[in-house]
């Protein structure tokens, strides 16, 4: 009798363990984000909590990585064989991973088709397309770059909006007054991504490209040399030494420059005063929103808009369960209110890639977006017509990732602005470096 009871009890314990074991055996996957600011990490953590509360199969391990460190962190991760299952990063890095054959494109395509290709802007999908068809990444959010300028000061001096090459350099010259630490414009002149991003818009507006349609490097083309030469002349009206995005932001907010190139992420910085936010303020002008306008299309030989699409992508993994978890989380973030909460962590900066969300009243109902009023819709409209160096005539060249990770464009610009090289010399140097980078 006693023996039987013991057997029964042990059987029950075993069964209990088997059933409950399932719920305990959660799968944890790693997710890298380039959103490193504390308040943004908080939003992501809230989304993760919401996701984990909703199901108990998967857990998310969040790792934050600085955007400029992504190439190095990925390289180290690849070499060590310890990559995350899911990354949220800019298009170039996604293309580079795709070209290395590191991505689980099947998982990416599953998520894209679950969301529905019709409900993602074409312009955004194009940026993450694979040359073999299908996609390397799921578009998540995007920003548009352009010249932010002080409309009030432009009117005072009777200058025209900085939308053409001539107008830009004319205005920069008119405002440049280094004796009083006031400068004409801030554009990228350092060895970083910012320099490539600001330069790209000038190059595209002059029909200058890095790749021709067969994938050959044509960085020393007459169009590119012409653009470099213009950029060098324009850089004479910038603050001393190499400049990066931080200079652009700080000097514009402090009223030291009337023009600077920046992405839509500046919208919440400029709008701070108007929203009554009391946080990190420093030296900053009053009512900057009303004084500011945005020229996002640059006109020269053709119209050029530059921007960036960031997306989710999935790394091939031995453990398919982890990839399934990452897919579920990606779909969770891209849906309804979760998606709106995500985009609101950088209102104006992060723009929706799904038309259904972009027009959702709930999305538009944010203090900061209201402060900008009509301007905010106009600003976001550039997202669909972004042009970039890695995309020529409908073709994608993932090789651009090797060029961007070495900051060759920025280095080329520095050769001119810091070492006094001519545009021709710099273009030849850049050409050679780019060819080496693709070897």
């Amino acid at each position: 009798m006693q023996k039987k009871t013991i057997v029964k009890i042990s059987l029950m314990v075993v069964l209990l363990l088997v059933f409950t074991g399932n719920t305990f055996a959660q799968t944890t996957f790693e997710y890298w984000t380039t959103q490193t600011e504390e308040n943004r990490v908080e939003v992501i953590n809230q989304l993760i909590d919401r996701f984990e509360a909703q199901q108990d199969e998967y857990k998310v391990e969040l790792v934050t990585v600085q955007e400029n460190d992504i190439p190095t962190k990925l390289a180290a991760g690849m070499a060590a064989g310890r990559l995350p299952q899911m990354i949220e990063v800019g298009a170039e890095n996604i293309l580079k991973l795709g070209a290395e054959g590191m991505l689980d494109t099947e998982a990416v395509n599953d998520v894209v088709s679950d969301i529905g290709e019709d409900d993602i802007y074409d312009g955004a999908l194009k940026m993450l397309a694979s040359p073999e068809g299908g996609y390397f990444g799921v578009p998540l959010h995007g920003w548009v770059q352009g010249i932010w300028y002080r409309e009030d000061l432009f009117e005072e001096k009777g200058l025209e909006a900085p939308t053409t090459w001539d107008n830009i350099i004319k205005a920069a010259k008119a405002f440049h007054n280094p004796e009083e630490q006031k400068y004409g414009i801030v554009i990228g002149t350092d060895k970083d991504s910012y320099a490539r991003q600001t330069f790209t818009q000038y190059a595209l507006s002059n029909n200058a490209r890095i790749f021709d349609k067969d994938g050959n490097i044509i960085f020393n083309s007459p169009e590119m040399v012409e653009t470099l030469d213009y950029y060098k002349r324009l850089a004479e009206f910038t603050p001393p030494g190499p400049n990066g995005w931080r200079d652009a932001r700080d000097l514009y907010l402090a009223g030291r420059v009337p023009m600077m190139m920046y992405s839509t992420y500046i919208m919440d910085d400029i709008g701070l005063g108007a929203t009554g936010y009391e946080g990190e303020q420093g030296e900053m002008l009053k009512n900057l929103v009303d004084k500011t306008n945005f020229a996002n299309t640059m006109k020269h030989k053709s119209d050029a808009v530059f921007g960036q699409i960031a997306g989710f992508t999935f790394i091939k993994s031995e453990d398919q369960k982890k990839v399934e978890g990452a897919k579920a989380f990606a779909e969770f973030v891209l849906s309804g209110e979760n998606y709106i909460d995500f985009l609101h962590m950088a209102p104006g900066g992060m723009n929706a890639v799904r038309p259904s969300i972009a027009n959702d009243p709930k999305y538009l109902d944010h203090e900061l977006l209201k402060v900008w009023g009509d301007k905010s819709a106009r600003i976001a409209s550039g997202l669909n017509s972004i042009g970039k160096f890695g995309y020529v005539g409908g073709k994608v060249f993932p090789e651009i990732g090797n060029i961007t990770s070495q900051f060759i464009v920025g280095q080329t610009i520095m050769k001119m602005t810091e070492s006094g090289w001519t545009a021709e010399e710099a273009a030849e140097w850049g050409q050679k470096e780019m060819e080496d980078a693709l070897e």
Binding site: P71, T72, A75, A76, M78, A79, A80, G81, E100, G101, M102, P178, Q181, D190, K191, D192, P239, P240, G241, P242, G244, D247, D250, L251, R256, N402, S405, Q406, F407, M414, E418, S419, A437
Partner: protein, 288 residues
């Protein structure tokens, strides 16, 4: 009797085994792995094999202009900072090696740069030398009019090397100061008294008593600082990305161009160079 010693010897080997394993694992393995990497074209994708290419990397590096530019920058940086930190440390130590009120407080304050976390010190300096808002430019240009215009000391490739050298000397001289001061305090006062009786001047006392007594501590400081600064990465890279010394060059080779094999080969070359320097220095200069 003989059997016993044999057993004792065996026991001895067992006792040193953990140390041998630890040193082998922590020092020998990375060195050998680095050498192995330097002879291969390393594939980024861990699922694909690396290809053996012999000494091709070494030939490429030794014929690369950029490598020699970085090498020259490294030599300039190392030599100026080693001389700078040692001389400044020596000078401050001698000044503070006498009695005055508040001496221990001053000695503590002098150590501050060395104990401040490098990242906060670097950001402080960046702000000090900021081209628009920085105090240094403000004083030099706007107050004293010693320079015609504001300069971006930290990021401009022409000036950044000087900023980095000054930063390194400022940050590391307290270490030299500490070592030299400790040695100064152990020099017996009777030596100086005897010299005074013989009518020696201050300079003669310094030259014939202080310096010879300090020879070994200064010798050790120079060699340590040379090794440390030749491989210095953090203080340089955090302050300015425009100064390409060899460690920064290796970092960029490895992580921006993904040439791990080439980066490993550069490390191997550096190792041989520094090792040669140490052997020469210890035999000829220190005469150990």
């Amino acid at each position: 009797m003989e059997i016993k010693t044999d057993q004792e010897a065996k026991l001895g080997y067992w006792l040193i085994l953990p140390t041998v394993l630890a040193i082998g694992g922590l020092i020998l393995y990375p060195v050998i792995y680095n050498l192995w990497l330097s002879l291969h074209k390393v594939n980024m994708n861990p699922t694909q094999p690396n290809t053996f290419i012999g000494i091709k990397h070494f030939i490429e590096i030794l014929t690369d202009v950029d490598f020699w530019t970085a090498f020259r920058t490294s030599i300039l940086f190392t030599s100026t900072t080693v001389v700078g930190t040692t001389l400044l440390g020596l000078g401050v130590a001698i000044l503070l090696n006498r009695k005055f009120p508040g001496r221990s407080l001053i000695r503590g304050i002098i150590l501050l740069p060395y104990v401040t976390p490098v990242i906060s010190a670097a950001f402080g300096w960046k702000y000090l030398f900021n081209p628009v808002f920085g105090m240094f430019n403000y004083i030099m240009v706007d107050v004293l009019s010693l320079m015609p215009q504001h300069i971006n000391w930290i990021e401009s490739p022409r000036y950044a090397i000087f900023a980095v050298i000054i930063f390194n000397i400022w940050r590391n001289f307290p270490f030299a100061f500490l070592m030299i001061l400790a040695e100064l305090q152990s020099i017996s006062g009777t030596l100086y008294e005897a010299a005074e009786v013989d009518g020696a001047t201050g300079w003669q006392k310094f030259k014939h008593i202080t310096l010879p007594e300090l020879k070994f501590v200064i010798g050790a400081l120079v060699i340590l600082r040379t090794i440390w600064n030749f491989y210095k990465f953090s203080e340089i890279y955090l302050l300015s990305s425009s100064v390409e010394v060899l460690p920064v060059y290796i970092y960029e080779k490895a992580f921006a161009t993904y040439s791990f094999g080439e980066a490993a080969a550069i490390s191997a070359i550096l190792f041989v160079f520094v090792f040669g320097f140490i052997l020469f220095y210890v035999r000829k200069v220190l005469e150990w």
